[in-house]
Amino acid sequence: MLKITNLHASLEEEDKQILKGVNLEVPTGKVHAIMGPNGSGKSTLSYILSGKDGYEVTDGSASLDGVDLLELEPEERAAEGLFLAFQYPVEIPGVGNMTFLRTALNSQRKARGEEELNAADFLKLVREKAKALKIDADMLKRPVNVGFSGGEKKRNEILQMAMLEPKMCILDETDSGLDVDAMKLVAEGVNALRSPDRAFLVITHYQRLLDHIKPDVVHIMADGKIIKSGGPELALQVEDEGYADLLEGAA
């Protein structure tokens, strides 16, 4: 599914190297987690995979089911089945959440040569998915993320994921800014989407999210590289000992 090989990238404006040779494979059906200290390049990795401007890939490759992601525009990557749940979902005043969801869904369907969903079918689908995430009609009507609480924003991300049914989901610090109950609700939403045809890459600082979304593999990232990979126990080790020992071991 997702294959990242020797990925090097820098900030376009500052010529500062952020990714220094990331190697990572996430097979279909699996949940991988990336943990790491601040500034290790976790979020940058998610932005580069989804195609945000401002980064320059200097070496290496990233592909999804054999398709070179780095050659594609962000919307083409989305149509290929890549989805990024943002750490800070963007507020877009004046654009209704429903309009946004429907435009996104139909853009992807069109790009894939599928028939667009009509208003009635779309409405039925969105209501059903929203209900499971406790997203009420009012939140659907409001402008995208405007006036949403932290928890509502993250639930809205998961709703988009549920509507768009991507193959590869990247969750960038989805637990940040959430209280325990909100985190549970979000994790339930993610777990409901786990399937043999879908893979997840969960980026987080803390082990607690991984209590709710159980990973198959945990990677530790530091200074632009994956320095260690292991099972879920690796996350527990980080929780107990912090990153310092791991970083020293790698040095």
């Binding site: 919307e75 877009i92 654009v95 768009l164």
Partner: protein
């Protein structure tokens, strides 16, 4: 007083463009003569005038209007609205194409000016004259002096439908002066819609009296006529507890000057002016607004949003003047430019002049490109850059459209905007 040579020439050239109106009743002749005097004293606008710094008035003051090809009449959002239609063709009122007048008194300007007695006679030229201080509006004075055409609307109660004025074009050279007078009685209300390409060049003045408890809603469409060149002046006087709301949707036009001059003279009055404009290429759009607070506890709001690309220019000159006794004034003004490239210009001059001490006035003006973070967010969900940008443009302009009170009309305007941008 003599004018500088260049100004004198522009003044004479422009005056020479219009035939003198035929003699009317005595009061009307006097009003016209007074207006002509005002015009000649002030002189035609030139680039050196403070309020014409951002807009070159040359095309509006030339002795001959530039010929301007007639485009097919646009289908407008108002076609779906059940309204009482008043139709002008090349600046002349067309009785046959207009609806039969029902439920409201509407006369042609010439008939009113010829009559000795009319309920609106105290307004003609009066609100325009009041609006000449402290800023000169010579084009409006010229209009009062020379205009032969226009409608005079007297609303005595509630109308069951809007009145729509359509200004249609057939002649590629028509140089149009239209002077409308609208009088509402106390407690009366009117929704006025305006649309159409008007003329090769136009100068329209509307004097609107909104007395105590009356309400006036106005929606104006300035459409895809690429070479539109003209000026609009609205002079409104508001009484106590009255409401005035004006919204303009504008796309294209090489030179459009919309002036709105509002005087809040009664307590608790409410005046809102808004505009959503989209300019592409050879576009110059100028909104000049002057709101005078001269009563207690009045509210005024100015909301102007412009999207510009390919070298388009838009300017906003908005002023709130709060007189010494206008305590508890609530004045608000926002003007924003969304520039889709580096070639376009948004010029803003917000002004507040406040002489009362217990007021809340705020203003803001911003100018910038499309929000890249929002664009990326939309694109990351599968929406193309172009479509994402369109969504952001519509969202940006929608803040002005939200100023329209009637939801049905607001939705019609949204549809119109999308059709025009396509």
């Amino acid at each position: 007083m003599t004018l500088p040579a260049q100004k004198q020439k522009a003044t004479d050239d422009l005056l020479g463009a219009y035939d003198a109106p035929t003699s009317a009743s005595r009061w009307a002749n006097e009003a016209r003569e007074a207006a002509l005097g005002r015009y000649q004293n002030m002189g035609a606008p030139t680039r050196r005038d403070e309020y014409w710094k951002y807009t070159n008035p040359a095309a509006l003051t030339a002795g001959i209007a530039t010929e301007n090809p007639v485009a097919p009449t646009d289908v407008t959002a108002f076609d779906q609205v059940d309204s009482l239609k008043l139709v002008f063709v090349d600046g002349r009122f067309d009785v046959h194409r207009s609806d039969a007048i029902q439920g409201v008194q509407i006369n042609q300007l010439a008939d009113v000016l010829a009559a000795d007695i009319h309920a609106c006679k105290d307004l003609f030229g009066e609100l325009e004259a009041r609006g000449q201080k402290p800023v000169h509006r010579p084009l409006a004075a010229l209009n009062t002096a020379m205009a032969k055409e226009g409608v005079v609307i007297h609303v005595k109660g509630q109308l069951d439908r809007p009145v729509e004025i359509q200004y249609l074009r057939e002649d590629p050279t028509a140089d149009i002066l239209i002077h409308n007078v609208i009088k509402l009685d106390k407690d009366a209300s009117l929704t006025l819609l305006e649309s159409g390409a008007i003329g090769a060049r136009f100068n329209i003045v509307s004097e609107i009296d909104v007395p105590d408890n009356a309400s006036f809603h106005h929606i104006r469409l300035q459409g895809r006529e690429t070479q539109r060149a003209g000026s609009n002046h609205i002079f409104a006087r508001l009484g106590a507890e009255s409401l005035f709301k004006s919204f303009t949707l504008a796309v294209n036009g090489t030179l459009t000057r919309n002036e709105t001059i509002i005087e809040l003279t009664g307590d608790n009055a409410n005046a809102h002016v808004a505009c959503a404009a989209a300019g592409d290429g050879d576009f110059h759009h100028d909104d000049t607004v002057f709101v005078t607070h001269d009563a207690v506890n009045c509210e005024s709001r100015q909301v102007f949003k412009k999207v510009l690309r390919n070298g388009a220019t838009s300017c906003f000159q908005g002023k709130i003047l709060v007189k010494p006794d206008a305590q508890k004034t609530d004045g608000y003004q926002i003007s924003q430019g969304l520039l889709l490239d580096d070639d376009s210009n948004f010029l803003a001059k917000p002004e507040l002049e406040i002489y009362a001490d217990d007021v809340a006035c705020s203003h803001g003006s911003t100018c910038g490109g499309a929000d890249e973070t929002a664009l990326f967010y939309l694109m990351s969900r599968g929406i193309s850059r172009d479509q994402a940008q369109d969504m952001l443009v519509l969202a940006f302009l929608d803040e002005a459209i939200q100023e329209i009170a009637d939801e049905t009309l607001a939705d019609a305007i949204r549809g119109q905007l999308q059709a025009w941008l396509r």
